[in-house]
Amino acid sequence: MKGDGTQPAWPDEIFGVLKEAAVEQVCYVPDAGHKVLIERSIADNEITTVRLTTEEEGVAVLSGAWLGGQRGALLMQSSGVGNCINLMGLVQECRFPLLMLVTMRGEWGEFNPWQTTMGQGAQAALEAVGVIVHRVDDAALAAETVQAAARLAFLSYRAVAVLIGQRVIGFKEFAK
């Protein structure tokens, strides 16, 4: 799928980074931008995937995972960021590593106005509760940004979110 002109390479590259970082649990609420990452995680025998009903569950699941000696990643859309906020108290008080990969809506060329409030507020909301935020607006920098975020999360015991900009993911088409 890499570089064949029909599928972007960055989701596969991010998956490779997660494997290199020894991620063994992947929790997600689906987003179209995470489709490849979710499918590859499910297909990987060394990764346990957890289908969440709401994003904050993933904060707790991965806290438990790390308590038990496993690293994880939490995948969501920007609309899920707000759901996670109170549980950042768990992560911050215990200095649990947390790696969040957030695909953005409500910004570059958004069609659906209902996405805008949380999309525009996501970074400030995360930073208000002490989460370190890295943004990706160039697909070529996605993998190295996730790699840096994973190091910061797992080696420095920090909550780190990578916001993958809507410019990278592309417009969601609402063609009639």
């Binding site: 289908r51 707790a60 438990g64 768990l90 215990c94």
Partner: protein, 198 residues
Amino acid sequence: MTEHQVTLDRRKAVARILADRGDALLITGLGSPTWDVAAAGDHPNNFYLWGAMGAAAVMGLGLALAQPDRRVLVITGDGEMVLGLGALATIAVAAPGNLAVCVIDNERYGETGMQEGHTAAGVDLPGMAAAAGWPVTACAWTKDDLEALVPVLHGDTGPIFATVKVTADPAPLVLPPRDGTVLRNRFRQALLGEMAFE
């Protein structure tokens, strides 16, 4: 809402459950269940939540998936559990055989003035768990029920969801350590040894 007489004391019930814990890893939901477990005796593999309401059961899920050869027990309250009811679906789907969630149900919000909770109005948590697909569910009303439940919690293939109905009688505060880094470091050291600090 019930024809049952509630007689179980929360402290005695939790102490009874933990008497047979073996090497189980334990997570407690904030408030009274944390005090109950502390009152039964501290242990490095007790992870006490002092906040993060709604997180206990799913935190147990992540731990159970990471440690498939160990039993993981979550002891929480009815108010904590209803804050994260989606966990019933999430855990049913993930289906870790080594996880048990035990709700100490006094049908009250004990930390905030003993306001009635949803279970007081008849919400049936084990029934909801069964409907979500948990293979083992139970509700203990009596001492005999509790005696039958204890080996199930510690030994049956799960995930196991159980409610223990207890009286709303207050119990004295027994406070475990509250520094999260102390709790996580001692938990991981007891579980993982040297690897804990890599």
